[in-house]
């Protein structure tokens, strides 16, 4: 075998190696994409590892009828309340008008945000830090031209607040609460009162910290509310129901 033969043999061998390597890359890549599609379709293992975020394409997961914002505030030892997010040094809004902390619906990173704010400001000593959620119906976001198609009344925006998280001054999470919207979803399927939140005294918290929980403690927050209609215990009393007449509408 001459030198040319050796060269061509080596080239062929390298070519086959390269072909195999390319095949492995193609199969691995398409296999991972395919695995993501299958997992997503069968709703299996979609959140098992951060890498799944790279192969699961769940761009539309449903949107709520309510807009929400997060308020991260601190109660100083001077009795005043301070805004802890966004930090006083920034006006950055990543995707629209909302601040960065508003994109943390599970509150996994709120304590880091708070610590960073306290670290880089001349903050007064804090007594406790609170994460409060604000919700309002999205219809109040509509421009006037659309609103007038739906209602004759002037809009009266109303916000619902819910305490979501209580943190110690160091940023350690002390208590968590479900979101207001989750709670509403539970209420609508429950004719019975939902278990109320654990009593503050049972978790051994300071009286000062308990004071921050007054929205949820000492109140029958799980009870089905009465929305008027006198003394009827039901949400929508049958008092208005008169004997049926021939209706004009159906």
């Amino acid at each position: 075998m001459g030198a040319n033969g050796v060269d061509s043999g080596a080239r062929g061998w390298l070519g086959r190696i390269r072909l195999w390597a390319v095949s492995v890359v193609i199969v691995s890549y398409l296999g991972s994409l395919g695995y993501g599609i299958v997992c997503h379709t069968l709703n299996f293992n979609t959140a098992s590892h951060p890498a799944m975020y790279f192969v699961v394409w769940d761009m539309f997961c449903g949107w709520s009828a309510y807009a929400n914002r997060l308020h991260i505030i601190g109660e100083g030892e001077d009795g005043k309340y301070y805004e802890l997010a966004p930090g006083p040094w920034t006006k950055f809004t990543p995707f629209g008008d909302l601040s960065r902390h508003d994109y943390d619906p599970f509150l996994n990173h709120s304590s880091d945000i708070v610590r960073n704010c306290l670290k880089h400001t001349r903050a007064k000593p804090m007594r406790r830090l609170l994460v409060i959620e604000e919700y309002w119906a999205k219809k109040y976001n509509l421009p006037d031209s659309v609103w007038t198609h739906f209602f004759d009344e002037t809009r009266k925006k109303y916000s619902y607040f819910q305490l979501r998280q209580v943190m110690a001054p160091c940023g350690t999470i002390v208590r968590r609460f479900p979101s207001w919207l989750d709670r509403q979803s539970q209420l609508v399927v429950s004719a019975q009162p939902l278990p109320s939140h654990p009593d503050s005294s049972s978790v051994g918290l300071s009286s000062g910290l308990r004071a921050t929980m007054r929205p949820l403690d000492g109140r029958s927050s799980g009870l089905m509310p009465s929305l008027g209609g006198g003394s009827s215990p039901s949400l929508f009393p049958p008092a208005d129901f008169e004997p049926e007449r021939a209706p004009l509408a159906q």
């Binding site: 890549y29 951060p50 799944m52 394409w57 009828a65 943390d104 739906f150 979803s185």
Partner: protein, 507 residues
Amino acid sequence: MADPAPELNQAAAEALRVPHRGPRGSVREFFLAEEVPYGLALCRMALPFVLLYVVLRRWGHAREFFSTDGASAPLADNYGYFNMLPVPSGTVAVVLMTLLVVLLVTTVIGWRTRISVIGCLVIYTHLNMLDCLSTFTKYSVIASHVLLLLSFSRCGAVWSVDAWLARRGATPPVAPPRFPAWPRRLMQLLIGLIYLGAAITKIHTPTFFSGDQLRFWLMTDVNNSNPMGEQLTLYPVAVVTMAYISVVWEILFVFVAWRGHGRWIMLLLGVGFHLGTRQTLGLFVFPLVSMTTYLAFINAEDVARWRVRLARFRSKSDSGITPLSPTWHQRLALAFPAILLVASVLGVELEHQLDPYGIRRPQGAHELVEIDPDRVEAMLESNPVIRPEDLVHSLEMGEMLVGGYVIGHKRTFRQGEKLFAQCTLNPPHPDLVIECNLHDSDNRLLDRVHQVVPREAFRANFLYVLHDALAPGEYALVVRCGGQEVARRRIVLEPATDAVQSAPVAN
């Protein structure tokens, strides 16, 4: 499914030497046929432009978002994998962001292309995964995929500084170089599978097809402003129609977008879809990133055709290519790391001068902003009960129902006409009794109609036949919920156009 332009190299052709080219041969031809990487070169030039917008906006916040001197928000934490990726110090984060900016620029111009693309891939993906709040989104994921595939490719072989230098080297190529098509094919499959996955998501969401959730999506302000989306909520039938079209398109894309008319139809629908999300949902970057992958569908034949068309606008130049001296090649080779080094140092210095936290200001670090006590008091007031008026999203009146929605919106009717009233509800809501009552101009109750709306329903429909027992004049439809008035719409009833009309009292 192969384009006509690519040709097979010798090894691939040998591999294909079989009596009948079966599925295996077709697959090999699909992935291994050689071509000039024009499509990927276009991707290489377009994507970094989009990413530069994203990165430059965050450059000044690198310390806050991506470092231990800030509030990084690693994606892995959300999955329970704490400390999965190292979080750099503040200075290192600034250096990485600065390098990313420079590497994106060198990727655009195709200088040291492979190193640039790999650098972009590693730094961009790593930093993104450290900030899942304000940086990492699905468009980041798509961009990382594209950068990964570009790093496998020879996208810098044409339309780049590297190609320019190669033509001025000792042995300039006589023709544009050709490479196996598989990185481009994988990019095409990537976007096709992304759309397929997105379609599966929508199929998993039943209220997507009823238009209910999509309507609320159009109202969202989580993204950028989307005034057209808000106006579109007035036309839910159009929204539902577009929802169906988008899902059909998403499913068909991966099967049809390969050649012929199907390719152009799918791509043009895609451009329309993505530009539509810009207008209706306020998505800015996602459409641009997605559409850059469409450039992978451009093949050498398209480029040849466009070149012919553009040739008449170009003056012919007969000047030969002058090779650069080896000294210049050496200098340019050294210039690349030198620029990275200088940019890093300048970036750190600039960030120091900018003082993002304001801690080196003459007046010292910022003070916290005090909140109005009344505002805090309102926040701390628990209000777990939804007001009845917030259960109702809208009250619409029109001529008929199509697809479960009222169309032909109007508030002036004639005797004998039908009035469809639709009360849309905000989920979640309990099982409700909704009344839609007719009042006269003196607010006297003329008729009371109620309907039970179960918790899973989003709409209550009422049909009024405006018979001639109702005198022409002004009336009002009043919606009551929980014994409380929650919405009122004024209507005007005009005399019937024909003289006498026999209308039933009710139906």
